[in-house]
């Protein structure tokens, strides 16, 4: 194809968008709708993941130190604990601190424990945070094997739950995005089919005048890619604005729970480039699919 032809064909693609205004607008509407859905699902699942990660990190393994250990030995244990692979942080609570904590927890009924002040039955304690709850059992076994350790209480059930939820969130998020993706492909390809079906006569006339398949396809490709990219930009913009409004609303929320979640939400900028890239890719794919797969059947004349 000569340069003149290519210029002409690109011009044709742009002209077709105007000539088939009704169809172009309908296609853009459908595309934007689908991209918005997928974008929202991706944002939601990334955020759920982030929040779950934070909640997970809040779980402690409680290590009781034998009463015989003095302060120095206890500190040594702390260092040993920190050195274990899966341990991310270690917090020490001495025996008296432990008692006070216990009393505090009882609230107004704390005086019930006053009797214990003289003969503190509570052991010194290490609160250990692990990096990955999935390998909790391993880590607990390692700690248990250490000297000076009286007892290890690990949130095994909580850990199982958290690991379960996190897996569910991951799996669910992926599944939702995949399902939305599949549904979108179905919807979008049906829309392309309808749009091209509308122009089957035009396509056949072009063939009768001696146009090659690629000569007919190219403007469809240009047209589809332009429509796809416009939709991508529109969807991206709408999602950005919508996300900012949502963040704004959450930052103003009084619920401590929402506040907590808010602090661990990802910022739009963090995934903006990838999302824009994905949208543009999907938009361009729209043009390619239309020109390559759906125009084809009407070219056989």
């Amino acid at each position: 194809m000569s340069l003149g032809s290519v210029k002409y064909l690109i011009g044709e693609g742009a002209r077709n968008i105007r000539a088939n205004r009704q169809m172009s607008i309908a296609s853009i509407g459908v595309l934007v709708a689908c991209m918005l859905l997928i974008g929202a699902a991706v944002l939601f699942s990334l955020n759920a993941d982030a929040v779950m990660g934070y909640i997970e990190s809040q779980n402690d393994v409680v290590v009781f130190v034998v009463d015989e250990a003095d302060e120095e030995e206890a500190e040594g244990l702390g260092e040993t604990l920190s050195a274990i692979e899966n341990v991310s942080s270690v917090r020490y609570i001495s025996r008296s601190e432990a008692l006070e904590g216990q009393m505090e927890r009882l609230g107004n009924s704390a005086y019930l424990m006053d009797a214990l002040r003289e003969d503190n039955p509570l052991p010194a304690t290490y609160y250990v945070k692990v990096k990955d709850l999935e390998f909790l059992a391993d880590t607990v076994a390692k700690i248990q094997a250490l000297d000076l350790v009286l007892e290890v209480n690990s949130p095994t059930d909580m850990a199982a739950t958290m690991v379960g939820i996190k897996k569910a969130v991951n799996l669910g998020g992926t599944a939702i995005v995949a399902i939305l993706g599949a549904v979108s492909i179905l919807i979008v390809s049906n829309t392309i089919k309808l749009t091209i079906f509308n122009r089957r006569r035009e396509i056949s006339i072009m063939k009768y005048v001696g146009a090659t398949d690629s000569f007919i396809r190219f403007p469809f490709l240009v047209e589809g890619v332009i429509i796809g990219l416009c939709s991508a930009l529109l969807a991206f913009g709408l999602l950005w604005v919508g996300y900012y409004y949502l963040m704004d609303w959450m930052s103003a929320a009084t619920s401590s729970w929402l506040q907590l979640a808010y602090q661990h939400l990802i910022r739009f900028e963090d995934i903006a480039y990838r999302m824009l890239g994905g949208f543009c890719g999907a938009g361009a794919a729209f043009g390619v699919a239309g020109a390559l797969f759906f125009v084809g059947r009407y070219l056989k004349v």
Partner: protein, 227 residues
Amino acid sequence: MEAIITFKDVSKTYESGTHALHHISLHVDKGEFVFIVGPSGAGKSTLIKMLLREETPTKGTVLVNGYNLCTMKRRHIPAFRRTIGVVFQDFRLIPTMTVYENVAFAMQVTNVSTKYIRRRVPYILDLLGLAKKARSYPPEISGGEQQRVALARALVNNPALIIADEPTGNIDPELSYEIVELLNEINRCGTTIVMVTHEHGLVAQFDHRVIGIEKGRITLDRGGKQQ
């Protein structure tokens, strides 16, 4: 003389079961001007569609412009069609393109320079009295004007073979005469012309070869006196 169109024992039965053509054998030489006449439903358009490979014969062989239309590969069809200019009975103009664009499109597919297209298209439109309608869309012009646009599109590439299926059905007798005169002129320069028409007046005025078709069979093949 060299044959530009050869039908060898061609039959055509449509899917609906209609036998449109029966054992047609036919030669048209380079440079001939052929009128095809016959009653409605005789199979004239079917014959024309065969020449363009819009339909393929159920039996027999069609050779046009050196291509064997029954065995040719799909990817060679466009190149083949560009060697022919066609006026369809139902015009087949693209409704979203202006008159100018419809005609220019037929040139664009042949890869000629944009400069040449810009000169050639207005010339042809002017020749057919369509200069004022260049920027109109087909649904916005009269039936006769649409037919002339279809004709303009067939002529614009200077094809070796022009096939016209009733190119004057919607045009008044005076203009019809002028158009056939124009085709005659083109024919004199060596272009082969096959024209289906119902107007016996025209056939009589221009003394060319006449092929009569009735119920799918050739019932008449009379050479013009030039031959």
